[in-house]
Protein backbone atom coordinates (compact mmCIF):
# COMPACT_ATOMS: atom_id res chain seq x y z
CA UNK A 1 0.00 0.00 0.00
CA UNK A 2 1.44 3.38 -1.01
CA UNK A 3 1.82 6.18 1.51
CA UNK A 4 -0.89 8.40 -0.06
CA UNK A 5 -3.34 5.45 -0.07
CA UNK A 6 -2.49 4.67 3.57
CA UNK A 7 -3.00 8.29 4.63
CA UNK A 8 -6.24 8.68 2.64
CA UNK A 9 -7.70 5.57 4.29
CA UNK A 10 -6.54 6.89 7.69
CA UNK A 11 -8.19 10.26 6.95
CA UNK A 12 -11.51 8.49 6.38
CA UNK A 13 -11.47 6.38 9.57
CA UNK A 14 -13.40 8.80 11.81
CA UNK A 15 -15.82 10.31 9.28
CA UNK A 16 -16.74 10.63 5.62
CA UNK A 17 -14.93 13.49 3.89
CA UNK A 18 -15.03 15.32 0.56
CA UNK A 19 -11.96 15.73 -1.70
CA UNK A 20 -10.58 18.88 -0.15
CA UNK A 21 -11.40 17.58 3.33
CA UNK A 22 -9.19 14.56 2.62
CA UNK A 23 -6.38 16.80 1.32
CA UNK A 24 -6.49 18.86 4.53
CA UNK A 25 -6.71 15.83 6.82
CA UNK A 26 -3.78 14.07 5.10
CA UNK A 27 -1.77 17.28 5.40
CA UNK A 28 -2.49 17.34 9.15
CA UNK A 29 -1.89 13.62 9.70
CA UNK A 30 1.49 13.77 8.02
CA UNK A 31 2.53 16.96 9.79
CA UNK A 32 2.53 18.88 6.50
CA UNK A 33 4.89 16.38 4.85
CA UNK A 34 2.36 14.94 2.36
CA UNK A 35 0.42 17.55 0.38
CA UNK A 36 -1.76 15.68 -2.08
CA UNK A 37 -2.18 17.14 -5.55
CA UNK A 38 -5.68 16.80 -6.99
CA UNK A 39 -4.54 14.38 -9.72
CA UNK A 40 -2.80 12.21 -7.13
CA UNK A 41 -5.81 12.26 -4.79
CA UNK A 42 -8.34 11.20 -7.42
CA UNK A 43 -5.94 8.66 -8.93
CA UNK A 44 -5.63 6.97 -5.53
CA UNK A 45 -9.35 7.39 -4.73
CA UNK A 46 -10.27 5.82 -8.07
CA UNK A 47 -8.08 2.81 -7.26
CA UNK A 48 -9.41 2.52 -3.70
CA UNK A 49 -12.97 2.63 -5.02
CA UNK A 50 -12.28 -0.09 -7.61
CA UNK A 51 -10.60 -2.19 -4.88
CA UNK A 52 -13.73 -1.77 -2.73
CA UNK A 53 -11.88 0.00 0.10
CA UNK A 54 -13.73 3.34 -0.28
CA UNK A 55 -17.27 4.13 -1.43
CA UNK A 56 -19.43 7.21 -2.04
CA UNK A 57 -21.24 8.53 1.03
CA UNK A 58 -23.41 11.58 0.27
CA UNK A 59 -23.50 14.84 -1.70
CA UNK A 60 -23.62 18.32 -0.12
CA UNK A 61 -23.86 21.76 -1.71
CA UNK A 62 -21.18 24.18 -0.53
CA UNK A 63 -21.00 27.73 -1.95
CA UNK A 64 -23.04 26.65 -4.95
CA UNK A 65 -20.85 23.62 -5.66
CA UNK A 66 -21.72 19.99 -5.18
CA UNK A 67 -19.32 18.14 -2.93
CA UNK A 68 -19.11 14.36 -2.99
CA UNK A 69 -18.24 12.66 0.29
CA UNK A 70 -16.34 9.40 0.55
CA UNK A 71 -16.35 6.87 3.35
CA UNK A 72 -14.29 3.84 4.34
CA UNK A 73 -15.83 0.43 3.68
CA UNK A 74 -15.46 -2.53 6.05
CA UNK A 75 -12.88 -4.00 3.65
CA UNK A 76 -11.04 -0.66 3.71
CA UNK A 77 -10.99 -0.64 7.51
CA UNK A 78 -9.63 -4.21 7.62
CA UNK A 79 -7.03 -3.48 4.93
CA UNK A 80 -5.86 -0.36 6.80
CA UNK A 81 -5.64 -2.28 10.09
CA UNK A 82 -3.51 -5.01 8.46
CA UNK A 83 -1.20 -2.43 6.86
CA UNK A 84 -0.92 -0.38 10.08
CA UNK A 85 -0.04 -3.54 12.04
CA UNK A 86 2.58 -4.47 9.44
CA UNK A 87 4.14 -1.01 9.57
CA UNK A 88 4.05 -0.98 13.39
CA UNK A 89 5.76 -4.41 13.51
CA UNK A 90 8.47 -3.15 11.16
CA UNK A 91 8.92 -0.02 13.27
CA UNK A 92 9.16 -2.09 16.48
CA UNK A 93 11.79 -4.32 14.90
CA UNK A 94 13.83 -1.33 13.77
CA UNK A 95 13.59 0.36 17.19
CA UNK A 96 14.58 -2.85 19.02
CA UNK A 97 17.62 -3.20 16.79
CA UNK A 98 18.59 0.42 17.25
CA UNK A 99 18.42 0.03 21.05
CA UNK A 100 20.41 -3.24 20.97
CA UNK A 101 23.13 -1.80 18.76
CA UNK A 102 24.04 1.65 20.08
CA UNK A 103 26.39 3.72 17.95
CA UNK A 104 30.10 3.07 18.49
CA UNK A 105 31.70 5.60 20.82
CA UNK A 106 33.64 8.25 18.89
CA UNK A 107 37.36 7.55 18.55
CA UNK A 108 39.63 9.62 20.69
CA UNK A 109 41.99 11.76 18.68
CA UNK A 110 45.54 10.47 19.05
Amino acid sequence: MTEPAFLILTALVDQARHGYGIVGEVDGLSGGRVRLKVGTLYGVLDRLVSDGLVEPDRDEVHQGRLRHYFRLTDAGRRSLAVEAERQAANARTALDRLQSWPPASPRRAS
Binding site: H18, V23, G39, T40, Y42, D46, R65, H68
Partner: protein
Protein backbone atom coordinates in the same frame (compact mmCIF):
# COMPACT_ATOMS: atom_id res chain seq x y z
CA UNK B 1 -17.15 30.29 -14.36
CA UNK B 2 -13.99 32.13 -13.26
CA UNK B 3 -10.89 32.24 -15.50
CA UNK B 4 -8.95 29.98 -13.10
CA UNK B 5 -11.72 27.37 -13.27
CA UNK B 6 -11.67 27.55 -17.08
CA UNK B 7 -7.90 27.02 -17.05
CA UNK B 8 -8.17 24.08 -14.69
CA UNK B 9 -10.93 22.46 -16.76
CA UNK B 10 -8.67 22.82 -19.83
CA UNK B 11 -5.96 20.88 -17.94
CA UNK B 12 -8.51 18.19 -17.05
CA UNK B 13 -9.17 17.62 -20.76
CA UNK B 14 -6.06 15.42 -20.66
CA UNK B 15 -8.18 12.83 -18.82
CA UNK B 16 -10.38 10.32 -20.69
CA UNK B 17 -13.90 11.60 -21.31
CA UNK B 18 -15.48 8.70 -19.44
CA UNK B 19 -13.39 9.52 -16.38
CA UNK B 20 -14.21 13.25 -16.57
CA UNK B 21 -17.91 12.50 -16.73
CA UNK B 22 -17.63 10.96 -13.27
CA UNK B 23 -14.93 13.01 -11.55
CA UNK B 24 -14.45 16.39 -13.27
CA UNK B 25 -16.78 18.54 -11.16
CA UNK B 26 -15.47 17.02 -7.96
CA UNK B 27 -11.87 17.60 -8.99
CA UNK B 28 -12.65 21.20 -9.91
CA UNK B 29 -14.34 21.77 -6.53
CA UNK B 30 -11.35 20.28 -4.71
CA UNK B 31 -8.85 22.33 -6.70
CA UNK B 32 -10.76 25.58 -6.22
CA UNK B 33 -11.04 24.90 -2.49
CA UNK B 34 -7.25 24.39 -2.38
CA UNK B 35 -6.62 27.90 -3.80
CA UNK B 36 -9.29 29.63 -1.72
CA UNK B 37 -8.19 32.48 0.51
CA UNK B 38 -9.99 34.57 3.16
CA UNK B 39 -8.64 37.84 1.79
CA UNK B 40 -11.19 39.17 -0.74
CA UNK B 41 -8.64 41.03 -2.89
CA UNK B 42 -6.35 38.02 -3.06
CA UNK B 43 -9.31 35.78 -3.89
CA UNK B 44 -10.34 38.05 -6.78
CA UNK B 45 -6.77 38.18 -8.07
CA UNK B 46 -6.44 34.38 -7.92
CA UNK B 47 -9.80 33.90 -9.63
CA UNK B 48 -8.80 36.20 -12.51
CA UNK B 49 -5.09 35.55 -12.91
CA UNK B 50 -4.36 32.33 -11.04
CA UNK B 51 -3.54 29.13 -12.85
CA UNK B 52 -2.85 25.57 -11.74
CA UNK B 53 0.82 25.13 -10.81
CA UNK B 54 3.12 22.71 -12.61
CA UNK B 55 2.98 20.05 -9.85
CA UNK B 56 -0.82 20.13 -10.15
CA UNK B 57 -0.68 19.87 -13.96
CA UNK B 58 1.87 17.03 -13.75
CA UNK B 59 -0.33 15.11 -11.32
CA UNK B 60 -3.19 15.32 -13.86
CA UNK B 61 -0.85 14.30 -16.71
CA UNK B 62 0.38 11.30 -14.68
CA UNK B 63 -3.22 10.32 -13.93
CA UNK B 64 -4.13 10.67 -17.63
CA UNK B 65 -1.28 8.33 -18.62
CA UNK B 66 -2.11 5.83 -15.88
CA UNK B 67 -5.80 5.76 -16.80
CA UNK B 68 -5.02 5.11 -20.46
CA UNK B 69 -2.24 2.59 -20.20
CA UNK B 70 -1.56 1.71 -16.60
CA UNK B 71 -4.83 1.12 -14.87
CA UNK B 72 -6.04 -2.20 -13.52
CA UNK B 73 -9.67 -2.83 -14.45
CA UNK B 74 -9.57 -0.14 -17.15
CA UNK B 75 -12.28 -0.06 -19.85
CA UNK B 76 -11.67 -2.47 -22.75
CA UNK B 77 -10.37 0.23 -25.10
CA UNK B 78 -7.76 1.50 -22.65
CA UNK B 79 -6.89 -2.04 -21.59
CA UNK B 80 -6.15 -2.80 -25.27
CA UNK B 81 -3.93 0.30 -25.46
CA UNK B 82 -2.16 -0.85 -22.31
CA UNK B 83 -1.48 -4.27 -23.85
CA UNK B 84 -0.34 -2.59 -27.07
CA UNK B 85 2.22 -0.50 -25.17
CA UNK B 86 3.45 -3.64 -23.36
CA UNK B 87 3.84 -5.45 -26.71
CA UNK B 88 5.75 -2.47 -28.14
CA UNK B 89 8.08 -2.22 -25.14
CA UNK B 90 8.80 -5.95 -25.31
CA UNK B 91 9.30 -5.80 -29.11
CA UNK B 92 11.81 -2.93 -28.83
CA UNK B 93 13.55 -4.72 -25.93
CA UNK B 94 13.66 -7.86 -28.07
CA UNK B 95 15.35 -5.93 -30.90
CA UNK B 96 17.83 -4.33 -28.49
CA UNK B 97 18.60 -7.66 -26.77
CA UNK B 98 19.08 -9.53 -30.07
CA UNK B 99 21.21 -6.76 -31.54
CA UNK B 100 23.18 -6.67 -28.26
CA UNK B 101 24.01 -10.38 -28.49
CA UNK B 102 24.98 -10.25 -32.17
CA UNK B 103 26.99 -7.00 -31.87
CA UNK B 104 28.87 -8.32 -28.80
CA UNK B 105 29.60 -11.66 -30.52
CA UNK B 106 30.84 -9.92 -33.67
CA UNK B 107 32.97 -7.44 -31.73
CA UNK B 108 34.56 -10.21 -29.66
CA UNK B 109 35.16 -12.24 -32.84
CA UNK B 110 36.78 -9.30 -34.65
CA UNK B 111 38.92 -8.61 -31.57
CA UNK B 112 40.13 -12.23 -31.63
CA UNK B 113 38.48 -12.96 -28.26
CA UNK B 114 35.78 -15.31 -29.62
CA UNK B 115 37.15 -18.20 -31.68
CA UNK B 116 34.82 -19.22 -34.52
CA UNK B 117 35.41 -21.70 -37.38
CA UNK B 118 35.84 -18.75 -39.74
CA UNK B 119 38.89 -16.56 -39.07
CA UNK B 120 38.12 -12.94 -38.26
CA UNK B 121 39.04 -10.53 -41.06
CA UNK B 122 41.39 -7.62 -40.46
CA UNK B 123 39.32 -4.48 -39.95
CA UNK B 124 40.97 -1.50 -41.70
CA UNK B 125 41.86 1.56 -39.62
CA UNK B 126 39.26 4.27 -40.31
CA UNK B 127 41.02 7.55 -41.12
CA UNK B 128 41.08 10.06 -38.28
CA UNK B 129 40.05 7.65 -35.53
CA UNK B 130 42.09 7.61 -32.31
CA UNK B 131 44.10 4.51 -31.37
CA UNK B 132 41.59 3.50 -28.71
CA UNK B 133 38.65 3.21 -31.13
CA UNK B 134 38.68 -0.61 -31.13
CA UNK B 135 38.45 -0.79 -27.34
CA UNK B 136 35.73 1.88 -27.35
CA UNK B 137 33.65 -0.05 -29.89
CA UNK B 138 34.16 -3.32 -28.01
CA UNK B 139 33.12 -1.69 -24.72
CA UNK B 140 30.05 -0.15 -26.38
CA UNK B 141 29.08 -3.54 -27.84
CA UNK B 142 29.40 -5.18 -24.41
CA UNK B 143 27.22 -2.45 -22.88
CA UNK B 144 24.56 -3.52 -25.40
CA UNK B 145 24.43 -6.88 -23.62
CA UNK B 146 22.63 -5.14 -20.73
CA UNK B 147 19.47 -5.36 -22.84
CA UNK B 148 19.50 -9.14 -22.51
CA UNK B 149 18.83 -9.23 -18.72
CA UNK B 150 16.46 -6.26 -19.19
CA UNK B 151 14.39 -8.26 -21.69
CA UNK B 152 14.44 -11.51 -19.72
CA UNK B 153 13.81 -9.62 -16.46
CA UNK B 154 10.68 -8.02 -17.88
CA UNK B 155 9.22 -11.23 -19.27
CA UNK B 156 9.81 -12.85 -15.87
CA UNK B 157 7.84 -10.19 -13.99
CA UNK B 158 7.62 -6.62 -12.79
CA UNK B 159 10.54 -7.00 -10.34
CA UNK B 160 13.06 -6.78 -13.19
CA UNK B 161 11.72 -3.49 -14.53
CA UNK B 162 14.58 -1.41 -13.13
CA UNK B 163 16.97 -3.04 -15.63
CA UNK B 164 15.26 -1.25 -18.54
CA UNK B 165 16.11 2.35 -17.55
CA UNK B 166 19.58 1.17 -16.47
CA UNK B 167 20.23 -0.37 -19.90
CA UNK B 168 18.76 2.71 -21.63
CA UNK B 169 21.01 5.15 -19.74
CA UNK B 170 24.12 2.97 -20.29
CA UNK B 171 23.39 2.58 -24.02
CA UNK B 172 22.83 6.29 -24.63
CA UNK B 173 25.99 7.13 -22.64
CA UNK B 174 28.08 4.52 -24.52
CA UNK B 175 26.85 5.56 -27.99
CA UNK B 176 27.44 9.25 -27.18
CA UNK B 177 30.94 8.39 -25.95
CA UNK B 178 31.67 6.56 -29.23
CA UNK B 179 30.58 9.59 -31.26
CA UNK B 180 32.75 11.96 -29.23
CA UNK B 181 35.80 9.62 -29.15
CA UNK B 182 35.77 9.01 -32.91
CA UNK B 183 34.75 12.57 -33.80
CA UNK B 184 31.81 11.36 -35.90
CA UNK B 185 28.97 13.80 -36.62
CA UNK B 186 25.67 13.35 -34.78
CA UNK B 187 23.48 11.63 -37.34
CA UNK B 188 19.69 11.64 -37.55
CA UNK B 189 19.78 7.86 -37.02
CA UNK B 190 21.80 8.32 -33.82
CA UNK B 191 19.30 10.92 -32.52
CA UNK B 192 16.23 8.87 -33.47
CA UNK B 193 17.56 5.61 -32.02
CA UNK B 194 18.50 7.28 -28.75
CA UNK B 195 15.14 9.05 -28.60
CA UNK B 196 13.37 5.67 -28.80
CA UNK B 197 15.76 4.28 -26.16
CA UNK B 198 15.06 7.20 -23.81
CA UNK B 199 11.28 6.94 -24.31
CA UNK B 200 11.27 3.18 -23.74
CA UNK B 201 11.27 3.29 -19.90
CA UNK B 202 8.09 5.46 -20.03
CA UNK B 203 6.30 2.45 -21.50
CA UNK B 204 6.94 0.57 -18.25
CA UNK B 205 3.87 2.39 -16.88
CA UNK B 206 1.86 -0.20 -18.82
CA UNK B 207 3.41 -3.00 -16.73
CA UNK B 208 1.23 -2.11 -13.75
CA UNK B 209 0.30 -4.35 -10.82
CA UNK B 210 -2.94 -5.49 -12.41
CA UNK B 211 -1.37 -6.32 -15.78
CA UNK B 212 -1.58 -10.00 -16.73
CA UNK B 213 1.75 -11.87 -16.83
CA UNK B 214 3.69 -11.87 -20.07
CA UNK B 215 3.52 -15.00 -22.21
CA UNK B 216 7.12 -16.09 -21.54
CA UNK B 217 7.15 -18.96 -23.99
CA UNK B 218 6.02 -16.83 -26.94
CA UNK B 219 8.63 -14.15 -26.21
CA UNK B 220 11.38 -16.75 -25.72
CA UNK B 221 10.51 -18.24 -29.11
CA UNK B 222 10.56 -14.70 -30.56
CA UNK B 223 14.00 -14.14 -29.02
CA UNK B 224 15.31 -17.34 -30.62
CA UNK B 225 13.86 -16.48 -34.03
CA UNK B 226 15.05 -12.87 -33.85
CA UNK B 227 18.57 -13.97 -32.91
CA UNK B 228 18.59 -16.44 -35.82
CA UNK B 229 17.44 -13.73 -38.28
CA UNK B 230 20.01 -11.26 -36.98
CA UNK B 231 22.83 -13.81 -36.99
CA UNK B 232 21.93 -14.82 -40.55
CA UNK B 233 21.83 -11.18 -41.63
CA UNK B 234 25.21 -10.49 -39.99
CA UNK B 235 26.85 -13.58 -41.50
CA UNK B 236 25.45 -13.00 -44.99
CA UNK B 237 25.71 -9.25 -45.39
CA UNK B 238 27.98 -7.54 -42.88
CA UNK B 239 31.55 -7.08 -44.06
CA UNK B 240 34.29 -5.12 -42.32
CA UNK B 241 34.93 -3.09 -45.47
CA UNK B 242 32.56 -1.03 -47.65
CA UNK B 243 30.21 -1.25 -49.33
CA UNK B 244 27.67 -1.85 -46.59
CA UNK B 245 24.82 -4.23 -47.50
CA UNK B 246 21.94 -2.79 -49.58
CA UNK B 247 19.46 -3.93 -46.94
CA UNK B 248 20.64 -1.88 -43.98
CA UNK B 249 19.60 -2.09 -40.30
CA UNK B 250 16.55 0.18 -40.73
CA UNK B 251 15.57 -1.71 -43.87
CA UNK B 252 15.72 -5.03 -42.05
CA UNK B 253 13.27 -3.82 -39.40
CA UNK B 254 10.99 -2.21 -42.00
CA UNK B 255 10.87 -5.62 -43.67
CA UNK B 256 10.11 -7.45 -40.40
CA UNK B 257 7.34 -4.98 -39.44
CA UNK B 258 5.74 -5.12 -42.91
CA UNK B 259 5.75 -8.94 -42.83
CA UNK B 260 4.20 -8.88 -39.33
CA UNK B 261 1.47 -6.49 -40.54
CA UNK B 262 0.69 -8.65 -43.57
CA UNK B 263 0.49 -11.81 -41.42
CA UNK B 264 -1.73 -10.04 -38.85
CA UNK B 265 -4.12 -8.62 -41.47
CA UNK B 266 -4.22 -11.95 -43.33
CA UNK B 267 -5.24 -13.70 -40.09
CA UNK B 268 -8.01 -11.13 -39.60
CA UNK B 269 -9.17 -11.55 -43.20
CA UNK B 270 -9.33 -15.33 -42.71
CA UNK B 271 -11.47 -14.85 -39.62
CA UNK B 272 -8.80 -16.16 -37.23
CA UNK B 273 -8.85 -14.65 -33.71
CA UNK B 274 -6.55 -11.62 -33.38
CA UNK B 275 -5.90 -9.37 -30.40
CA UNK B 276 -6.87 -5.73 -31.17
CA UNK B 277 -3.89 -4.74 -29.01
CA UNK B 278 -1.56 -6.24 -31.63
CA UNK B 279 -3.25 -4.11 -34.32
CA UNK B 280 -2.46 -0.99 -32.25
CA UNK B 281 1.05 -2.24 -31.39
CA UNK B 282 1.87 -2.89 -35.04
CA UNK B 283 0.72 0.65 -35.87
CA UNK B 284 3.16 2.08 -33.30
CA UNK B 285 5.95 -0.23 -34.48
CA UNK B 286 5.30 0.63 -38.14
CA UNK B 287 5.48 4.37 -37.39
CA UNK B 288 8.72 3.76 -35.43
CA UNK B 289 10.23 1.75 -38.31
CA UNK B 290 9.19 4.50 -40.74
CA UNK B 291 10.81 7.14 -38.49
CA UNK B 292 14.02 5.10 -38.41
CA UNK B 293 13.90 4.65 -42.20
CA UNK B 294 13.38 8.39 -42.86
CA UNK B 295 16.13 9.32 -40.37
CA UNK B 296 18.65 7.05 -42.12
CA UNK B 297 17.54 8.28 -45.56
CA UNK B 298 18.13 11.82 -44.36
CA UNK B 299 21.65 10.79 -43.33
CA UNK B 300 22.28 9.16 -46.72
CA UNK B 301 21.38 12.40 -48.50
CA UNK B 302 23.18 14.59 -45.98
CA UNK B 303 26.43 12.61 -46.03
CA UNK B 304 26.58 11.78 -49.72
CA UNK B 305 29.93 10.05 -49.28
CA UNK B 306 31.09 6.61 -50.24
CA UNK B 307 30.61 3.56 -48.07
CA UNK B 308 27.27 2.15 -49.03
CA UNK B 309 25.95 0.00 -51.80
CA UNK B 310 24.56 1.81 -54.89
CA UNK B 311 21.24 0.03 -54.36
CA UNK B 312 20.90 1.18 -50.72
CA UNK B 313 19.27 4.58 -51.33
CA UNK B 314 16.71 3.47 -53.99
CA UNK B 315 15.88 0.45 -51.82
CA UNK B 316 15.51 2.66 -48.74
CA UNK B 317 13.10 4.97 -50.60
CA UNK B 318 11.04 1.94 -51.67
CA UNK B 319 11.06 0.64 -48.07
CA UNK B 320 9.88 4.04 -46.79
CA UNK B 321 6.97 4.03 -49.26
CA UNK B 322 5.99 0.43 -48.44
CA UNK B 323 6.22 0.84 -44.65
CA UNK B 324 4.30 4.16 -44.84
CA UNK B 325 1.51 2.43 -46.80
CA UNK B 326 1.50 -0.49 -44.34
CA UNK B 327 1.44 1.95 -41.38
CA UNK B 328 -1.52 3.86 -42.88
CA UNK B 329 -3.40 0.61 -43.54
CA UNK B 330 -2.87 -0.86 -40.07
CA UNK B 331 -3.59 2.54 -38.44
CA UNK B 332 -6.98 2.64 -40.21
CA UNK B 333 -7.80 -0.91 -39.13
CA UNK B 334 -6.58 -0.20 -35.60
CA UNK B 335 -8.68 2.98 -35.24
CA UNK B 336 -11.77 1.14 -36.46
CA UNK B 337 -11.17 -1.86 -34.18
CA UNK B 338 -10.41 0.15 -31.04
CA UNK B 339 -13.35 2.53 -31.55
CA UNK B 340 -15.68 -0.49 -31.29
CA UNK B 341 -14.34 -1.36 -27.83
CA UNK B 342 -16.16 0.25 -24.88
CA UNK B 343 -14.40 3.23 -23.30
CA UNK B 344 -16.20 2.87 -19.98
CA UNK B 345 -16.42 -0.02 -17.56
CA UNK B 346 -19.46 -1.33 -15.75
CA UNK B 347 -17.72 -0.18 -12.55
CA UNK B 348 -17.36 3.37 -13.79
CA UNK B 349 -20.97 3.47 -14.91
CA UNK B 350 -22.12 2.13 -11.55
CA UNK B 351 -19.99 4.67 -9.70
CA UNK B 352 -21.32 7.43 -11.89
CA UNK B 353 -24.91 6.38 -11.21
CA UNK B 354 -24.27 6.11 -7.49
CA UNK B 355 -22.52 9.42 -7.17
CA UNK B 356 -24.85 11.56 -9.26
Amino acid sequence: MTPIEQRYRRVLRMLPKSYREVWEDDMVATFLASVETDDREDAEYVADYGRPGWPEVLSIAALAIRLRIGSAGAPARYAAWSRAIRFCVLAVLLVHATAGVIAAAMSLWLAGLLPLPVAAPQVPEPPGYPESWRQAYLFSALVGLLWVPAFFGLIRGRAGRWMVPAAAVATVAASTAIVSITGQPFTAEFCFTNLITVLLPLGLAAFHRGAPPVSRRAWLVAFGMSTAVMAGYALLFIRPEPPLPPLDWAGLWCLVVVIAIIVHLARRALGRPTDPAWTAALTILAVTALGMRLATLFDYFRFAATGWHPATVPLAIAEAVVVAAAAAWIAFVSARTLSRLPATTADAAAWSTTIR
